[in-house]
Amino acid sequence: MSDYGDSDYEEMSMGGDEGGYSDDEGFAYSDQEEGVASPVAKSSKKTFIVLDSEELRERLKAAVVQVVDLLCISDAEATRALRFYKWDLTKLQEDWFTDPDAVRQKVGLLDEQPSTRRKEETCKICFESYPVADMASARCKHYYCKDCWSGYVQTAIDSGPSCLDLRCPDPECKAAVPRTVIMAVADAAHKKRYEEFAVRSFVDDQRQLSWCPAPDCQHAVVSLSDRLGVAQDIFCRCGNAFCFNCKEEAHRPVDCETVRKWMIKNSAESENLNWILANTKPCPKCTRPIEKNQGCMHMTCSQCRHEFCWLCQGPWAEHGERTGGFYNCNRFKKAVEKGEVDEQEQKRQHARQSLERYMHYWQRWAENDSSRKKALQQVDKFRGEQQEVLSERTATPTSQLKFIVDAWMQVVHCRRILKWTYATAYYTFEETSGATKEYRERMAQHQEFFEFNQGQAEHYLEKLHHKVEKDLSRFLKAKPQPGAEGDGAGGSGEAGPSGSGDAGPSGSRDQQAAWNTFREQLIGLTDVTRIHFEKLVNEFEKGLDEALKEYDAPMEDEDPGASAAAEAAAAAEAAAAAAAAAKGKAAAAPSRRVTRSSKRRQSSQDDPETTALEEETGFWQCRHCTYANDLGDKVCSVCEQPRDATGGR
């Protein structure tokens, strides 16, 4: 018996370090620890799995083994058949059990080797005669010598991935060259390339698999979504976040088409807008030029200490509820329409409006994008150097500083979501001429609701970003010894901590207390922000009509027992208020907030029960009905349950 050209041959060449497909993992994409790397949606179930090259190979092997078992064919035949069927096991199985011979013909899995052979054959490539033992065929009747096989196979591998479909050299013969022959005749470098092509095809040919598009990233991703062809955010182990469907940067909750339209529009118009939104803005008070070199929108002029919002350039006091304001920079306000203007003027105004409208959304999209990028740099910086410094200054082991990275990553993630909500708002709430009054009213309601949610989310994100960026810098600067607090974030045009909880430079115990407060607040804020964004995304994906309907229905009791109930309730309250606002009581929500927060400032001082989180958010959550009550109130304003009775923290 010869080693070549019969069934033993396959066993032989599969041996050694090639290793057979002997893994017992199922082909079906089973569970693995991953898939929810997203900082948002920690709680939801996995929607994708990231695979490194080793895991990918395992899966490929598993797929082959499954076919070997099912169809009782060899490894090499199974590999070839799967490749032919684009790894669609169901289709292959269906066809095979209908007519196995037809599948064999199509794929090229022949069995035409003559049972009895002469001792010698002529190689059809070099025309020399060789003992049959030194020859091989692709299980067809055409024999070639080993050298010619090797040349043929390696030439094919050099010419690219089409080598996976290699057929017998005879132009009339359709026999598929089995993997075993290739492994037996190719040199190590070519074998490696062949295997790489195989893995590549495994990923490229399957709809539920995709490569991470980041340069140099070797990871692939399995989508577990049952809705392929729809946007899906993927968070690769390399840190890249991309959309499974369009391979652009991750953009949930916005659909791929909107992203595409938006990017095209930007490339056409952003040139014109760039000069308007140059890198600097004058301080609204002292007009000194200010460069925005951090991500948070809360600016403090380094010259006159004026605090203002980078987006609207209004005083920051009007933005935070702490100072009696309300965050609504996310809303696009139409210019007041004047009464009697001639037609020409109206046209001009319309053109200006539409450009201004686009600018409004583009600016917010672009600013959030650059904030996101800066935050990403900050994460690196923190991991690189700051972590050590902070650990030393605050006497905290670096392992316990993960909450800061978490906060940064939350900022990165939320900035991205926020950015895309602006792109989508631009299209969703576009003025449509000729729409019915009813439709317009409904859209206005949607917009109100959407913007309220967006504003809430953005409000918390600003707080979080501020805290992790500015407040943290204080601890980085603080000397281990008291009395040497740094004077704000240096090097930038705007600077200075302007938030809560001043850590006085008076002794290490105070500093430790300030650090603990900071930590508690940051963790709380990260959670609250996450929940708000989850909500924003979920409601958007559900459709605003649906979301509004839900709030129309009477509120049911929150499901009890959840540890994050307080935060969840905070989000629920916000949404309920949003729904209320959308129902036409738009003025009610903001004004209620104003009174509430001003009241709070008077009364919160004498309420020792107030937690850091409540201090931060400015209200306490009723455990019974989830209503957000003023910190001064002892009894819930809605269900009249006492604050204590609703369960302490």
Partner: protein, 153 residues
């Protein structure tokens, strides 16, 4: 292009030559093979099964160049101008036929021989009814001046 064939190629060309001289294909005559890796073949215009008889009575010359990687690489096959007027043959003699090229869309196989190539070319002429050059013939010839048809890929 015409580097010396390796020993394997040498042997293969030798045996093809032997085969050709014993059983030359219809309408083909090997007129020059002195240096072994450059052949000149004379091709009789085939009798076409259909009208019009485009090439009947004409004679064309084919130049075959064997590379050192023959037969893993296809031989370079061109007509010596004047080349037959055919929608797949440029006036500089380059031929558009898949079996003459390897790679992605190529149809070359080491199991093919010059004998089979010559037959394919004759049948390509025989089946043609359209006496025209390929589109962009002049441009192509200007661009490819002095280069191998394999460089078009």
């Amino acid at each position: 292009m015409s580097r010396t064939p390796t020993a394997v190629a040498q042997r293969r060309i030798q045996s093809e030559l032997r085969d050709w001289l014993q059983h030359p294909p219809d309408g083909c005559r090997l007129v020059q093979y002195d240096d072994l890796h450059t052949w000149i073949i004379e091709l009789q215009g085939p009798e076409s099964p259909c009208q019009p008889q485009l090439y009947t009575g004409e004679t064309f010359r084919l130049r075959i160049l064997f590379s050192e990687r023959y037969p893993l690489e296809p031989p370079e096959v061109t007509f010596v101008p004047p080349s037959p007027v055919h929608p797949h043959i440029y006036s500089n003699g380059h031929i558009c036929l898949d079996i003459l090229y390897d790679g992605h869309n190529g149809g070359w196989s080491p199991a093919l021989t010059i004998n089979k190539v010559a037959l394919s070319l004759r049948s390509m002429l025989a089946s043609n009814t359209d006496p025209r050059r390929p589109p962009g013939d002049a441009d192509y010839c200007a661009r490819m001046r002095g280069r191998s048809p394999k460089e078009t890929r």
